[in-house]
Symmetry: C2
Subunit: 300 residues, 2 copies
């Protein structure tokens, strides 16, 4: 089996485990009213690459931890990612009616229920992060609290929510610097948090966590650059959303600012920087690095 | 000084401390984009009774803890309460344009920014709950993680968000049972969590925490009953919102279902049950109990 097939098998296996864990972690009736339970389930089942939870599990594994112990953390981060898509798609935000080839939640369940399902997923994420393990080991408890803080800061007003606010505030006036700041918050912050949370749950020392963070920051930037390139070049069917939509909406993109070739070079440079950081941490020969390569080389 | 004046002084002093702590805990530029920072600040500054954070601090104090140590917890809970008001007021939800005598956030900042400010406050709440104290005492770390879980479950889809979903789903068809379930989630869950979180942070034993929880459940129910009575009888200026609005909107209320006199009796019974629970915990002679009485006897 070649390396690419091997990675695809790994990704598929992790995605299957993650999908099952996500559904099991969702609140359900009778304690949860069925309307909001159904709405949350609809968006979680809509799938996607599961990049963030995969990154979280791979990071835990890379530093020598057991990826299964990081699964609640990985699910919590995917809950937060899913909530952010639901709220971003709302009429008052990006007004998207199609996501991953399916109607968006507010189209299916109404705007009020979509807002609530997003709120619910965000809140349940922190319930998951705080859920006590069977044995209360003080070291695990401390890791969990630290992870909850890392994730909250990454997802909050100085991170993802702040990035969305910048996006909402007036993207047409953005230059290269403000575009970088927006994406570092809107997209890269949660990707970084996923890798960092995995490393913390896996028991990594602080110096290792910092290098994983640095590598994941470059993964996050590369992810956004490749997303922009795919938006220009891709086909709607492959992307599951309308190709060229960002460019048509006048949103600044890396290919628009730098051209496609230079944007590709920037993504490759991100990967090199990430590899140097992971090499310094002794983590270059791991699935974590493979996932970075996949982020850059993916076609959807 | 009589007892009522003394309580008013206490409430005013706590409110002053809470208001200062809330503003200090809000994210601010440059790390937080100014538009979303301003929006969060607008709603936090809009004030209100600060019932939940006061209850949290009083609970910590009642069980023998230092109320100052519970302040980040109290602020986090008020962040969550404030986010819930912002989202509830949105056009897709209750479509309220007036709150505490001021225009609602979506009127002032736009719907998209109001959604984001709510998301931001909810997320920052969990950042606050996870913030490490200066000295990392394992017992404090464990309390903080436990509180984060209690608050997340209370605010989430089986709690407050679930209650709002029930409210959105069709309140006109509600009977006494479904009304009680809705309010136990929508209003009482976070009030309970405030008291429970305070007790946990104050270092209470589990049996004491359970009794505080039971008392606070009755405080929460009484709060809703009195709110409904004030909505029928109150004046708009005193309430800071349109009196009679719930009844006019066809929302079920306790006075509508039982009549005002029977509703008053129900609130008094809640207070008696709460007092029995707090007496059993040795906490009847505390500010916590005083606050329960204030909930029932308040005029706004």
């Amino acid at each position: 089996m070649n390396a690419a097939d091997d990675l695809q098998q790994y990704l598929t296996a992790r995605r299957t485990a993650i999908d099952a864990a996500l559904l099991a972690a969702l609140p359900s009736p009778p304690s949860c009213p069925s309307a909001v339970a159904d709405a949350m389930r609809f968006s979680i089942r809509a799938g996607g690459k599961r990049l963030r939870p995969i990154l979280c599990l791979a990071s835990a594994e890379a530093v020598g931890g057991d990826w299964r112990q990081a699964m609640p953390t990985a699910c919590a981060i995917e809950f937060i990612h899913t909530y952010s898509l639901i709220h971003d798609d709302l009429p008052a935000m990006d007004n998207d009616t199609l996501r991953r080839g399916r109607p968006t939640l507010h189209v299916v369940a109404g705007e009020g229920m979509a807002i609530l399902a997003g709120d619910g997923l965000l809140t349940e994420a922190f319930a998951l992060l705080a859920r006590m393990p069977a044995t209360i080991d003080p070291a695990i408890v401390a890791r969990k609290l630290r992870v909850s803080g890392v994730v909250a800061v990454a997802a909050g007003a100085t991170g993802m929510v702040g990035g969305q606010a910048l996006d909402l505030g007036g993207s047409s006036a953005m230059n290269a610097d403000s575009l970088r700041v927006m994406h570092s918050k809107k997209t890269a912050a949660l990707i970084r948090a996923a890798a960092v949370a995995g490393a913390i749950m896996g028991g990594a020392a602080d110096a290792i966590v910092d290098r994983v963070d640095a590598a994941a920051a470059d993964f996050g930037l590369a992810f956004q650059i490749v997303d922009d390139i795919l938006d220009v070049e891709g086909h709607s069917a492959q992307l599951g959303k309308t190709a060229g939509k960002d460019a048509a909406a006048g949103k600044p993109t890396y290919p628009a600012l730098y051209g496609v070739d230079a944007a590709r070079t920037m993504a490759a440079e991100c990967l090199e920087r990430a590899e140097r950081a992971l090499t310094a941490a002794g983590l270059a020969q791991t699935r974590l690095m493979d996932i970075g390569r996949w982020i850059v080389n993916r076609s959807n």
